[in-house]
Amino acid sequence: MITPAFAVVGHPNKGKSSLVATLAQDDSVRISTLPGTTVEARTFPMKVDGEVLYTLIDTPGFQRAHKTLSWMKKHETDIHKRADVVRQFVETFKDTDQFFDECQLLSPILAGAGILYVVDGSKPYGSEFEAEMEILRWTGQPCMALINMIGEADYSEQWQKALSQFFQIVRVFNAVNAKFEKHIELLRAFGQLNEQWRQPLEKAVNFIHKDREDRAEQSARLIAETISESINLTMTKKLSEDDNEEKYKPELKHDYFQELIAKEQRCRKTIEKIYHYHNIDRTEANFKLLDDHLFSEQTWSIFGLSQQELIMTGLAGGAAMGAVVDVAVGGTSLLLGAGIGALIGGVSALISYDKLASFDILGMPLGGHALQIGPMKNRNFPYVLLGRALFHHQLIENRTHAMRDGLNIEDDEGRTGASRISPELRKNFETCFSKFRKNDADADEIETLTKLIVECMRG
């Protein structure tokens, strides 16, 4: 199977590296408003179990396009030998500084790479670019132009008209803000450049799709594990006979909350790793929102459920559990199970709204006593954690690796946290959480919670 390669070329500062960062999902690519950030050509092979399915090549921008074209025109003998002239040009100048950037960007094309010519569609078209396009045309390689919309103004129509005279395919693609589906569309479009590239690219697209689903599921499982561990978290301090437990309570409480915060942060960090984010700018507004303390009032009001929502969820969750009893007795209970369950769920939600973890004295497996804090009693706590985790995941999943600014991910009604979850789904969450609270959950419950979270992520 042929392995296609694509050289991303263009004038300096038109978003070539942004495109590569987005498609290669690599946030280590330097992206800057300064020209000349990309110094050398750099390859990004897309590999599945070591097998390369395609390669992207980030290149520096044209620096001396007019002079390059002048040289080539001077050495042109026959129109069908233009590619040879380009080759001759690279051979002549590859070891010099004079046309270093042109040699860097032309070499992979001469080695068989397809051309992805990137322009900024938010700035007016200029005919001086035609020197670059002409050079690329001389290589004779399949080529596609991508109109990258960097700024606010829209000159894409101008560009479209000009580019279509030089390129087989012209597409508009916002390298920084494009959704995942757009990446896939673009990869498929690369296949239109050469029939032989279609199959490996289609294979790559399928793997990228699957990989994306796997990442979402892995993140959901991590969130489920974190919620389960956080609800059940207990901390103990072994007491000797003459110890006064009051002395240890403040320290134990502090450690307990710190551990909960640390658990949440570990979960976030791992999710970022799963999506290959290593350099997220934490000063973005949305990330700052998440930086707010897990137990701050603002966090709970933004990401948790309101008291009313919590009571309604408690009622629904309790009713669902009570209904199991009704079904078990073949309906002879006249829905008393559901009724009592709802009542217990609602009242518990009301009582535990402001209640966090409490202290207990318990016996140790090998004798003696210990002061224990936890597990977490508050019914809103898992929703706060869930709301924050879903928000964070959405930030990560919807960003591109070229993005250097924040995202707006509020829904139409301006909600961000657990309040976005539908009441029906919330009921199922409540059933899960109540099992965790009773310390009655096993790996199967984590699986159920994972599925619910995936459902939330999807929708």
């Binding site: 004038h11 300096p12 500062n13 290669a24 999902q25 690599d26 280590s28 800057s32 408003t33 300064l34 020209p35 950030t37 990309t38 110094v39 050398e40 750099r42 390859t43 990004f44 092979p45 590999k47 599945v48 179990d49 070591g50 620096q63 001396r64 396009a65 007019h66 002079k67 074209l69 002048s70 700035k123 007016p124 200029g126 001086e128 670019f129 035609e130 020197a131 002409e134 700024g151 103004a153 000159y155 793997f207 699957k210 990989d211 796997d214 599921e217 892995q218 499982r221 991590l222 594990e225 791992t270 790793k273 140790m364 497996p365 090998l366 004798g367 009655d440 959950a441 096993d442 790996a443």
Partner: protein
Amino acid sequence: MPATRSKSLLEDLLKIENQLKTDASTSYELLQQRDRKIGIELKHLKNNPINQLRAWLSLTDEAEISHQTIGRSNFFISSCLVIFGLITGTSTGLALFFYTGQQPINVINVLAVGVGLQLILLLTFFLSTTFNSQWLQNLLASFNAGRWAARLAYILPSLKSSLDKFFNRRHSIADQKIVKWQTIYWSQQFAVAFNLALLLSCLYLVTFTDLAFGWSTTLDFDNSFVKSITDVLSLPWQAVFPAAVPDLNLIESTRFYRFNTISMNNENDTLTQAQLAGNWWRFLLLSLLVYGLIPRLLTLILAKLRLNSSIKASIMSLPGLHLLLDRMNNPAVATLAETPEVAAAAMQTSAEPTITALTNRQVFLLHWGQPAFDQNQIEQYISNATGAQLSGFELIAATNTDSIPAASNLPVLNQQTALAIIVKGWEPPTLELTDWLTELRTHYGPQQLIAVVAYDTDANQQIRTAGKTEVDTWHDFLKRQKLFDIVMHGVRE
């Protein structure tokens, strides 16, 4: 040196747990690479995650993490319990079958210890494994031989820390079950050793000494009652070993009272009675086997199975475990660059662009590239932005067919006329421009005022002043190219 897979599932649980903790600080890409490589090698175990994980453990390249201390603790506790069980079992056997020739061995005592007590202990085993009430568990745990031995091991400093780690692992429900089943398993080891020693000591004494058995009780039991009890007890073997079921004659003739031993009137009677008194041994041995040793072997096996299943459940509940399985069993998709990026030179913005250089001067405009607006608009803008009086306008490198004119072909300027290079602020400077600016400077000499003026376009496609970023970029470019005497004329926002 790869970590070796231990025989103990518990040790592997701790090793896997530790390895996952170590992995948490390793780059995801490296983990994916390592685990997928191992995953392909262990493809055949994909549907058996526990075995796959244990094999993975033996193939990870990380330094070996020693958890042998828990194995040592386990061995110490088990050994103590087995030895203690053997000693107490033998002692009990010798005590129960102690025969001086003065009075027969009381079958009731043997049955009380070998059957009655065993059944009571089996009941507690059943209660502790069936009901999860904390109160009941605490109560039963205080009778648990495993717990005593663990407390004994706790005294040894070398085992204390591993036992601490083990008993304080409380990540999941499975972890709590591990502690429960581990202590039960230990106690069953003791029970098996005890019953085995009891049975063997009984067998030894029966084989090598001449024992006489009888039965005696203060309670008002008649022979038929005792017969019905022995019949019930013999049910498991009566079809296979009918000789090991005591008959009424044996029961009647071997009853003895405190003041009388078994009556023996003549020599024949003595022989017959002695034979009869020895006949209990089959029944007693089988009772000890069926109600003592066999149930304990079964509970030992059950405890081991439940312990292993709890450990397996605990392994499967380890945080990050499913990520590991995914990394092993899903194709590794990699899209990142293979080499690190070469860093570009940092921006230098040492000096502020001037805004007064062109004011009230005669200025000749040279536009670099194709203008984004018509000439009049650009001239108007430059005039307003710089306060200059314009004296001419020429395009440079506006199309691909244009070759860049040599500086010598440009108009001759007098000393009062400045040269302004008009650039589109959003188009970053190129080396081609550098070449040309250098040529200009050479051609016009150091006295000629040469300025670069950048403009921009707004969202409504109208000409406007270049933004700070663009002006800085151009300014930096001039500095970097050492064109210090070319002035950047910019109006910052």
